[in-house]
Amino acid sequence: MPVVKEDYREEQRLKVLKGAFECFYKNGYELAKMDDIVTESGISKGTIYKLFKSKEEIYIQLIEHISNVFLEELKQIVSQYQTSKEKIAALYTDYLLHGKEGNMKKSFIVQSEFELYSSRQAGFNEYLDKLRKTKNQFISDLLTEGIQSGEFKKELDVTVYAEIFWSFVSGIMTQQLLYSNLSFEQIVNEEKKTFLKKICVEA
C-alpha cells in the first residue's frame, strides 16, 4: 500500500535528521561524516542516499525541520494565553526559562552554525532569509495584535522590536555557552520586565 510506504519513508527521513542533528551538534557540520550519521541514526548509507542527495541536503532539511518544530512550540505556548502582554511574557518564561533545556542549547548551536555556514555559501541567502523572516514575523504579528488591542504603544516599531527579541535570545545563549555559571533566570526575568515596559501602554 503506497500510504504505508510514504509513512515509512517519512519515518526514516526523520530518523536520519535526528541522527544528523546529534552529529552536527557534537562535531559541527563540516567535520561530521556520513558514516557518523549512519551510526547515529541506524539507517544504512544506501537508504540515506535514496532520501537525500548529499550531506548538505540533510543540513538544509534538518534546519527547516528544527525551525518548524520550534515555531509550533512557540505557537502552542502563546495559544494558552489571552492577552498580548501575557503572550509576550510567556515567550520569556514558558519558552526561555522552561523550554526543553538541553535541546534549546543544541538547537541554538546547530541553527547558528547553519546561519554562519550559509553566509559563505553561494545561493544560501534564501535559506537564511526565510529562517529569519519566519521567526521575526511570528513576534511582529504578536506585537501588531497588541497594538490593535490597545495594549501596546501605537508608535511601536514592530520590526525592530521583533529583532530586539531575537537579538536578546542569540546574545543570552552565546554568553551562556561561554559562561555557564551566569544567572540565566535572573537575566531572562529582567529582560522580560524591560521589554514589556518598553512596549506596553503605560497604565
Binding site: G28, E30, L116, R120, V160, I164, S170, L178
Partner: protein, 203 residues
Amino acid sequence: MPPIVSKDYKENKKKLILQSALECFAQKGFVATTVSDIGKRSGLSKGSIYNYFDSKEAIYFKLLNATTERNKTDITSNFAKLRSSISKISFLFDIYLKLAPIEAKQTETIVLFYEFTFHCVRSEKLLDFMRERGNFLLNLIKETIEQGKEAGEIDENIDANLYAHKFWMIIDGVSLQSISRHFHYYDVLREMKEMYLEEIRKK
C-alpha cells in the same frame, strides 16, 4: 654550525602565515581550513608552519589577540578622556554603532569570530582561552559600573558583574543577527543601548 636565522626573517614568516591563514579562514571557514591549505597559500610547507604555530587554533588566537590589543589601547585612551561612567559605557556601545556590519569585510570578520566561538564550545581548553580574552573588557565594565555607583550616577542595586555580561549579550546578539542582510543593525543596537542605560541609571 647551523645557519643563523635572523629575527626579522622569522617575524616576516609569521606575518605571512597569519595573513595567509586569515584569507583561508575568510574564504573556506575556520573549521574547513586545514594547515595544508594555509601552507599552500603562503608557499610554505606544513612542517614549517608548525615551527611557528602549534595549531590553526593558535594562529587564529594570534590574529584575535592582535585586534584585542589594538582595541584595548584605543579604549583605555578614550576612557581617560571621559568623566562619567555612563559616558564611558555609552562610548563602548558607540564603538559597535560605528561599525558597518553591512560591509562584506566586516561580515566576514563576524562570521569567522562566531564560527570560532562555537568551535571552542566543544573544548574546555579553548573555552578557557576565549573567556580569558574577554576578561579585560568584562572587568573594565564591572569597574566602570562600580565607579558609577560610588559617584551616584548608577543605581546601587545594579549587579556589576551581571551587567558586564549583559553588555556582551547585546553585542553578541546583534552581531549574530547582523549576518542577515535584512537585519536593522543600527536601529536595534541604538534601542538596546538606550534600554541598557535606562536600566542602570540612578532613578
